[in-house]
Symmetry: C2
Subunit: 490 residues, 2 copies
């Protein structure tokens, strides 16, 4: 037999049908349970045990669409539901979905400039655009001979590549003593994971090289504590090589103060090489498109690298983490597998970027397309409007919590995340969340404060969320809280 490749016409017909299916999904996802109401193994039991031997045949798209509806959709936790308030949002949007479609259709692989000049140069330009959009200084852009940005899969990967670059740079300037790395106790778990991958920790509780810096009352890193930690390590002969600051922690959106952190580093390292300062703004970075939130990034010009995820709150499908550095040479020195003597003049001059040397994998998709589509469709004005609406809805929700004596706000609200709890305590707060999530009508996740207190997180910002969804969620939370409090007092 010949392989049954789809003809362009067959692709067109099936493509229209699946576009229609996605459009219908957008229309109806708000009516589906948000948190999947399925048990472990339920989908597995409904899927054939063995792979299909024969091609799908004439009715295959009927069969596939039916299975999408009957098997897959009920097994999904619906991140695109307007009632999704869990984790942080993971925005999809029409233009981004279409960018993924075109990227898949082109099927290009932009590991090198040569293997995808269009992939590379569109990415360079959209990264410069977005740097301008969020107010990053020119030193992080390709306008600088030493800076520039790239698309990474996730903020985890941005943390890892900057850590690798930092370690290599520290080794070159400071020699072979043990390196030490720093982040606040509230930093994302990917910091600990990067340390494990890089061989700096044997597990999440190994602190031989990893320093977790204490935080202030708002859960932001305490620069004085950082300074003390760096000084102590220098005194012990270690090489402080990497500091991770977070703009918008995962738990509560705490903002590590970049300027005071850079001051602390400068003071501690007055007579030794400065560690690399990486800023993880995975969630909160999207808000920097609005000038009124740029106070969060004051001092960013003193950082070595910065990242945020348009795939969280800026309408660009996962995966799209934007990562900028002002020392791209440190990155390629640490990650290039081309020996120095084989590098070409074009790469060294900055005229050609080979993005394989900016990341862990070799291959890469053409992800700049979806970012380009999003920026063109929304314009900066539209992106700002999306952010501002999320913040407005969070303020509204916050006001309801503050005005209800059963509840209390559990952390300072900065953007579109509201942290709250029942005054009745941890068990009641957990019960309330479990009940809300079990209805399928909203999905929120929890976090724990450093003192162990359980808090509920209302993370607003899904593409489809409107004021009525937030109102309905509050009504639901309120009703389930009432039931919990009745039960707990009974």
């Amino acid at each position: 037999m010949n392989a049954p490749h789809m003809s362009p016409d067959e692709f067109r017909d099936a493509g229209h049908r699946l576009v229609d299916w996605v459009a219908e999904f957008m229309h109806t996802v708000g009516d589906m349970p948000v948190l999947a109401q399925t048990s472990p193994g339920e989908l597995l039991a409904r899927l054939p045990e063995h792979p299909p031997e024969s091609p799908g045949g004439a009715n295959e798209w009927d069969d596939i669409v039916r299975d999408l509806d009957e098997l897959i959709l009920p097994a999904m936790t619906h991140w695109q539901s307007p009632n999704f308030f869990a984790y942080f949002p993971c925005n999809a949007s029409g233009p981004a979905i279409l960018g993924e479609l075109v990227s898949a259709g082109l099927g290009a692989q932009g590991m090198l400039w040569q293997s995808g000049p269009g992939c590379t140069e569109l990415e360079m330009r959209t990264l410069d655009w977005m740097a301008e959009a969020v107010g990053l200084p020119d030193r992080f852009t390709f306008r600088s001979p030493e800076g520039g940005g790239s698309i990474q899969g996730t903020a985890s990967e941005a943390t890892l590549v900057s850590l690798i670059a930092a370690r290599a740079r520290a080794r070159r300037t400071a020699g072979g003593a043990p390196v030490t790395i720093y982040a606040s106790t509230q930093a994302h778990s990917s910091f600990a994971k990067a340390a494990m991958v890089a061989g700096l920790a044997s597990g999440p509780d190994d602190h031989e090289a990893v320093r977790l810096i204490e935080t202030d009352d708002d859960l932001a890193m305490d620069p004085a504590a950082l300074e003390r930690a760096i000084r102590a390590d220098l005194d012990a002969g270690h090489i402080p090589s990497f500091v991770l600051a977070t703009i918008g922690t995962t738990g509560t959106t705490a903002i590590d103060p970049l300027g005071p952190i850079a001051d602390a580093i400068d003071r501690a390292c007055a007579e030794s090489p400065r560690p690399w300062l990486h800023v993880d703004a995975a969630y909160a970075g999207s808000a920097l498109v609005c000038p009124e939130f740029r106070w969060m990034s004051e001092g960013v010009e003193r950082a070595d690298s910065f990242c945020f995820n348009p795939h969280k709150w800026l309408l660009t499908n996962f995966d799209c983490d934007l990562f900028w550095t002002r020392d791209r040479r440190a990155l390629t020195d640490a990650l290039s597998i081309t020996p120095e003597y084989l590098r070409n003049a074009a790469t060294e001059s900055g005229g050609v970027i080979d993005y394989r040397d900016w990341q862990i994998p070799l291959g890469r998709r053409f992800r700049a397309l979806k970012l380009w589509f999003v920026m063109r469709h929304y314009g900066l004005e539209g992106l700002r409007a999306h952010i501002r609406e999320g913040v407005r809805l969070a303020e509204l929700f916050e006001s309801w919590v503050a005005g209800d004596e059963r509840f209390e706000l559990a952390a300072k609200r900065t953007l579109s995340l509201v942290c709250f709890r029942l005054r009745a305590g941890d068990a009641a707060t957990r019960d309330m969340l479990d009940r809300v999530n079990a209805t399928g009508r909203a999905f929120l996740t929890h976090a724990a404060l450093p003192d162990g207190q359980v808090i509920a997180r209302m993370a607003i910002g899904a593409t489809a969320t409107r004021e009525r969804h937030v109102r309905e969620a509050w009504a639901l939370i309120s009703a389930e809280a009432e039931r919990v409090l009745a039960g707990h007092s009974a």
Copy 2:
């Protein structure tokens, strides 16, 4: 203003239009230059310097489609061209593109079972399907309580996660002495890069922990040399922790012999813990869907992990690396950031898989959908037909080279890659390749043999390639060779 989110109807209209654009692209890509005929900076100069302030407006899809045609397409190296014979193929296909579309439309994030039960369980099942399809033993599947598979982005990431798991396992069983790792001199550069990322090498030429094992005349790893290297390291007090064997090297598709390699490891480590054996079958693994090629993987049951890339030669868009292990606990022990005491019973029982602990990033796309669509559309019969046609065309090309006295075959052909050169030497071979690529009518890349000889690589297997494209490429190669030889002899 409100953010101009697309309504489902607007999405449907634009989606149909872009599906049509992709269908037209499939129809015409064969007429476009394969290697981009563009200079560094050319696209950059044609893109606006600043991001758009306002939304795209009523004509935005006219504008975007025009820019795709006029700006992006001419700047692409066309991996989906039927005349693409460079690197290895990077297959796209109709069903895979539609899988990406649906995945983007659902916008789910399957980091945890809870955050995407459907993502997780469809991935588990399609990985078990594909294990069966390529003849992997049950110990690599979820039928085993200790095994299972996952989708990684690339084989580079599979190498890195298995190396991290191997190192952690070695540390647990053998203590804190320096670990050593092994691959042949022909292993992919991602081996050296993984060592750098993991902190085992300061650069590609640092061999303090990295051993490159010599190869035989067919460029396959020499098991006796591996055994000697492991024994020497054991004698020196090192901990041999990781051996990478390649089925189908990037340069010439050499096949490292798994059984003899496992024997060598067993002999060397009769009295010490065995290192982790990872098999990188990135390109050649696709051919294992055909029983007649399973000789390549004889002995794979003795490996600890195995990967191959359907995104290379099995019709599933990049990124789709399939990675199986028979010790998934070693993986999660090395990569989980959840402390032991917080693990839940469901995860430990194997009833629930949290794929975040199988990979470097935290988040993940719903990539199983495209694999599912491909396996349903083609069936195993269709996949085998695609592989066999690629091999048949390579045999044909090989016969033409062998029958032409100007040329010589430069390495044993195993599958669909033909390595050849001009008898006139390296400069002539390079010139011929440059001339062929400059025409835009075909694109081939080169490699270097261990003795430094330059070879041309004819990698067949793009989805759209048919016999006439291979014939036309040979005619072009032949004509350009004639010109080169005329010039060199002049």
